[in-house]
Amino acid sequence: MNDSQPILSVSELSTHLGSGSRPIRAVDGLSFDINKGETLALLGESGCGKSITALSLMRLLPASGRVISGTVRFGSCDLLKLSESEMRRVRGGGMTMIFQEPMTSLNPVIPIGEQILEALRLHVGEAGAAGRKHVLDLLDAVRIPDPGKRFHEYPHQLSGGMKQRVMIAIALAGEPNLLIADEPTTALDVTIQAQVLELMRNLQQQRQMAILLITHDLGVVAEMADRVAVMYAGQIVELAAREPFFAHPSHPYSRKLFASLPTMAKRKRALHVIKGLVPSLHARFSGCRFAARCDDAVAVCHEYPPAWHTDGERQVLCHLYEHGREAERREDTSTAPIPSHTARPAKPVREPLLQTRALQVHFPIEAGVFKRTVGYVRAVDGVDLTIGAGRTLALVGESGCGKTTVGKSILQLIRPTAGSVRLDGVELTGLSHSQLRRRRSDFQIIFQDPYSSMNPRMLVGDVVAEGIKAFGAGETREQRRALVNKQLLQVGLSADSVTRYPHEFSGGQRQRISIARALAVAPKLIVCDEPTSALDVSVQAQILNLLQRLQAEVGVSYLFITHNMSVVSYIADEIAVMYLGRIVEFGPVGDVLRRPRHPYTEALLSAVPALDPKTRRGVIRLHGDIPSPSSPPSGCHFHPRCPKSAELCRQHYPRRSRVDDQHYVNCHLVDDEPIPGGARR
């Protein structure tokens, strides 16, 4: 490790949340150092205490939290011993922080220039013209175009990525030695994430600033970190430099995290999962905190806490690295046995299950004295999709591209403005309310947020039984109950769940209940609207496994709406890439992911942080943000951001071209093989 004095040195930091006899021991004896100019990633799943660690360092804990013990040496002083006014000089000065939610982290009623200037005044003592000049420099440094104009704008006038840049500019104002970034890109789209991460890397190099990067995303760690600290249940369990960590993660928990990541290579095999749930931090632990969930655990793991074991550039907190236990360590973390799959049709059958043609959903914009319609938000603007029986189509795109609206309009939860939706030979768009109601058992939906998708005032049994009741299946109460129990067992929940309320379950369990509710009416198609994006990666693996198993068992088709490319590569058969209300590329998942033809698909794929440095391709940087669907750009919607755009792109929307058998793309650059009848606009 670096010989020079670390810039931040944390030792035995413990933070409790809540008072009384059973506080939450959110951070329990944490020690780590950060050196000048280096990036330390604090990696962990939700609830492991990584954000509380950051807030403890800044002494910005919520009212219920307090630091119990430990020292935080920053430069020459112990931060925990400073008076509040001394600490205020450190905050925003030597040490600054940016937060996860750029949407809410800026004051909505103060112009952004003013908000940056405030930090300058405080820590650099600059105001007036010099201060203003400095603000413009900072805005320029975080690559905000036209800083002079942006100076007077309010946060709501900026996009999410822009806001996070402003947050970074505020953080830079005090010329910090250490930047704490708490999930800085989690709320951003992947192309925007690539921009922000690159910005942070450049600024770090220019300013020799250390970064404490808090994240749950292994990809971001791989892109950014010099060293990695893996956190579990309030403790750091592994501390290593990046290369050795990604080559051979040591702690069983770290290894499990890698194993549960979905990738193309793991297709048709079940993902590794971490059994059980994250332990409650109310409790005191007698042994290793991970022991109960660890496949490799031995007797001592449950008996007393492990000690640190140093092995070259890595440290690990695990009994298995004690002398003489090497034999018990299972190095092999390759994928588990393949589950029993029924033979899936290799190609889509002749008559697809779902077919949409020129599907449109336009929302009117009203203005003027009599609220005349002056325009439309073209959320969905001519979408053609095909899903075969028993297959999975992934619909990918960034936020605001209209992919959720596509899902809801297929389900007729939002009635389409125009176009056709045929499911199993039945046209859904023209059906009356009651006809539609009778057909609804054929197509179901699973939502992103497992916390809001169930009525909190209903028992789980009633939640699952709701569809069964609505369709009159199950004559008697007993029959219905039996059906409900069967569904719950099928998704891996015990039968006694029926008498409990949704809030008693974890996020992953709730997502299982949602799946059970949808399956209970025996649908042919399930629209999965980002079903795993609110979940931790180990829980995501459980849900993906479940969805795959159910497809094999009952032959249901999925429309899988997501922005997560690794999930797509693992689960999807076909992929449709959406940009600003239209499909720009469609084809078998292998073809599209390996040989993307549309520049947008290429950029999207290149922006995904890669775990393995060898497979990393150069990020294709996209300029600017996604335009508003109320006034899409002329010609090809993508041309203002496209690195390859030509004159033609500005004038005409490209027609649909066939790349090969089932691979289609809407791009002027791939215009060599036009298909008859496929031309549109």
Binding site: M58, L60, A63, S85, R88, R89, V90, R91, G92, G93, T96, M97, F99, E101, T104, S105, L106, N107, P108, V109, I110, E118, A119, L122, H123, Y154, H156, M167, I170, A173, G174, E366, A367, G368, V369, F370, K371
Partner: protein, 325 residues
């Protein structure tokens, strides 16, 4: 913006028509002019001739909605509906049942009402904000707890007791200010002090508690954490960041009542003998003068609708996020 205001003004028309029809039904259909006359004349065994004379004197003798005997447009205009209700749209309030010009009275009496209501509002807001900020600064401590308890105690006392108590203490016991009455010009000041003090104190409980909730809600937001992460001190955070955001709901809550200040406060004015619109209304109610009550109902509705419109406009002024279309 202009389109929005025009649209809102157009939308106000059906509402005012609704108000007007409602009062018409209440005052002329459920109770016929005969009933009014009878109760005005006092005796239930009053003669039919007397009722007729009274009705003629006050213009209630015409048919309610449709006058068959009139000519042309007069069939519609020569009616009670037109003369007593429709004319309100032109702010033609007509004469009260005791024969006075209501429009003139309103013009005269709105000034004393404003003289009490405006200072009460301003002082009240300042006092409430100060207390609420103080409590918010000490949130989670005993000052916060007892401050809220004090607020609840204060708002559990009927406003009548504040008035009676104020009159007794300041006027009767200490002879600091006159108990009641009013004067013109600068001399009115000494009569205004007590009503304003009473008005402020009776509103301090609910006001402070409400503002405190607003402040605490803002303090919980993410941008406050950002401001602290910049190294700003707690009072800068509170005054520059929290207050600015909390002022939005606060100001707009105030703007909606601004026009209604003209109407004055019924209780305060009648207790302190201030010749404002509030006491005017009370007199109208107590003398069962339907013409006055009807006019005040209409005026109140108009002012309320103006208040709503001003609220929306003030949102665009104080909140950069709101743009009206």
């Amino acid at each position: 913006m202009t389109a929005y205001i025009v649209r809102r003004l157009l939308y106000a028309i059906p509402i005012l028509i609704g108000v007007n029809l409602l009062t018409f039904v209440l005052f002329f259909v459920i109770n016929t002019p005969d009933d009014i006359a009878r109760s005005q004349l006092g005796d239930r065994r009053v003669t039919a001739a007397a009722i007729d004379t009274w009705k003629r004197a006050h213009g209630y003798q015409k048919p309610l909605i449709y006058n068959e005997n009139a000519q042309g447009l007069g069939k519609l205009t020569d009616t009670v509906l037109f003369n007593k209700s429709v004319r309100l749209f032109a702010f033609d309030f007509g004469r009260s049942d005791s024969g006075r010009d209501i429009g003139y009275d309103i013009g005269q009496r709105m000034w004393p009402s404003l003289a009490i209501a405006v200072p009460t509002l301003i002082v009240g807001i300042l006092v409430n904000i100060t207390f609420a900020l103080l409590i918010a600064l000490f949130r989670g401590t005993y000052i916060d707890f007892w401050g809220v308890v004090l607020c609840v105690i204060l708002l559990s006392v009927s406003s009548l007791f504040y008035i009676i108590g104020g009159q007794y203490l300041l006027s009767k016991l200490f002879h600091l200010v006159p108990i009641s009455g009013y004067d013109t010009g600068i001399n009115a000041t000494k009569f205004l002090i007590l009503p304003v003090i009473v008005g402020v104190i009776s509103g301090v409980g609910s006001g402070t508690r409400w503002y405190r909730t607003l402040f605490l809600e803002e303090i919980g937001k993410d941008y406050v954490r950002t401001a602290r992460a910049k190294g700003l001190s707690e009072h800068v955070v509170l005054f520059r960041h929290v207050l600015r955001n909390a002022l939005i709901p606060l100001l707009t809550g105030i703007v909606v009542v601004l026009p209604l200040l003209f109407m004055g406060s019924l209780i305060v004015e009648s207790f302190f003998g201030v010749p404002g619109l509030g006491s005017y209304t009370i007199d109208g109610i107590q003398r069962q003068d339907f013409a006055i009550v009807r006019s005040m109902v209409f005026l109140g509705s108009v002012l309320y609708i103006i208040g709503l419109l001003l609220t929306d406009i003030s949102y665009t002024l104080v909140d950069p996020r709101v743009r009206l279309r």
